[in-house]
Symmetry: C2
């Protein structure tokens, strides 16, 4: 569990969760257990997706994948424990100043991002897909965007947001979620394995559907720029100083190099 959770990574989901909490006026401590939970779930999905019976990846974040290091049995169980612990951690560690009703709502939101309407649905279609455009969109929404959305929405809920602010945060996160995958696909065809810390060109070599394959490299870049604008448009209703981290985050995601 520690090997994969603490192997680095961009911590995109936790950062978004804390930023959303602060944007709606909450102290970041209110969403810190949830921020950790989103990273545990992301890590669990990487461990299971890397297994030989799934994507069969040997390298992740510049290190051997979990099953290469510890064996398949331990890797499956490490993922299971991370998934379970993520919910437990939110239930046990969220500060008592947050209304329990908000904790229950956030747990429901987190759960819906993982199961048969979330990450798992995306991976099931990914395994079966032959790479057409509908599959591509479905896979990206479920494998990437849903958990990013849950991170932002849960941060807003735990930070004390009213319903309208929660929904504005949700729309922002949907744009950023899609943006994240478009940029990932672009980097896969433009960077080396060393620069990425994972096997580059893998999507191209396989039948996997990607945005550059569907839109061309320049088309994918234009789509990314459009998504940044739409995401930041949703932040207009918030205090600009408090929304600044999420505003700059969308730009960071668009311009990241690994």
């Amino acid at each position: 569990m520690r090997y994969s959770l603490l192997a680095g990574g961009k911590r995109v989901r936790p950062v978004l969760c804390l930023a959303a909490c602060e944007m709606v006026g909450g102290d970041e401590s209110l969403a810190l257990p949830m921020a950790c939970a989103t990273e545990m779930i992301h890590t669990m999905s990487l461990i299971h997706d890397d297994l030989p019976c799934m994507d069969n990846d040997d390298l992740r974040r510049g290190l051997p994948t979990n099953h290469k290091k510890y064996g398949e049995d331990t890797a499956i169980l490490a993922g299971d424990a991370l998934l379970s612990f993520s919910f437990e951690h939110v239930a046990v560690r969220t500060p008592k100043t947050v209304s329990p009703d908000r904790v229950v709502r956030a747990i429901a939101e987190l759960g819906s991002a993982v199961g048969s309407a979330g990450l798992v649905a995306g991976q099931i279609v990914d395994i079966a897909s032959e790479g057409d455009e509908d599959d591509l969109e479905y896979i990206h929404i479920h494998k990437t965007a849903r958990l990013l959305e849950a991170a932002v929405v849960c941060g807003a809920i735990l930070g004390g947001a009213d319903d309208e602010s929660v929904e504005r945060a949700r729309r922002y996160s949907r744009c950023v979620g899609l943006l994240f995958q478009v940029v990932d696909d672009i980097l896969d065809v433009t960077k080396s394995s060393e620069e990425l810390g994972k096997t580059a060109g893998k999507d191209l070599a396989s039948d996997k559907a990607t945005y550059p394959k569907l839109l061309g490299l320049e088309g994918a870049r234009r789509f990314a720029a459009e998504l940044v604008d739409r995401a930041n448009g949703e932040l207009a209703g918030f205090d600009p100083a408090k929304a600044a981290p999420l505003y700059h985050f969308a730009n960071y995601i668009a311009t990241r190099q690994n």
Copy 2:
């Protein structure tokens, strides 16, 4: 998910959860989502434990195991989705008449039964064990007793129990949890595969630690009888009519034939 969840089974955990809820004076509807959640988690642990890299079982409840029917990738993901959905289901479906504070406490209890201090810990030791007595106890506590305990304790919490009643319910469940495994081990050496609906004699053929191996068949039977008495002793403080289902349940577990 449906194939394994709806393949039958004794529904021990849900029954215990609902009975505990009613014992402390709650309506069973208060604990129904949690009862379902405990069965989802139990099913998930069976699916993952049956995988080729774990116990490599082909038969479960008289049917092909999940990975034999759907492939390893789908089996792993079905387990992941069941685990995630169990928490989501409790958060979304527990009646609003239950205080959200109790829902959060129950989710924490459920999570602690699954992760690296629960089911997963038991399976990790099971995989590595060479069958000595300390390992046997550790494995049974974590793979069987902890989830039974969580089912009973969560039922009591959601039913509105005070702290003392929750702890009495916990002690009852610890005896029943151990009892359940002792009887399982006895049945493995005394029944055929057809009677059990799973591969019989498997524990004997492998290096796996069992109570009949350690205590002898008669010693294991005496231990089971002692556990029934201790379990039912914990119920003395409750309304006898409301505690009757749990009282008879301990006897049922002790005398079950498959």
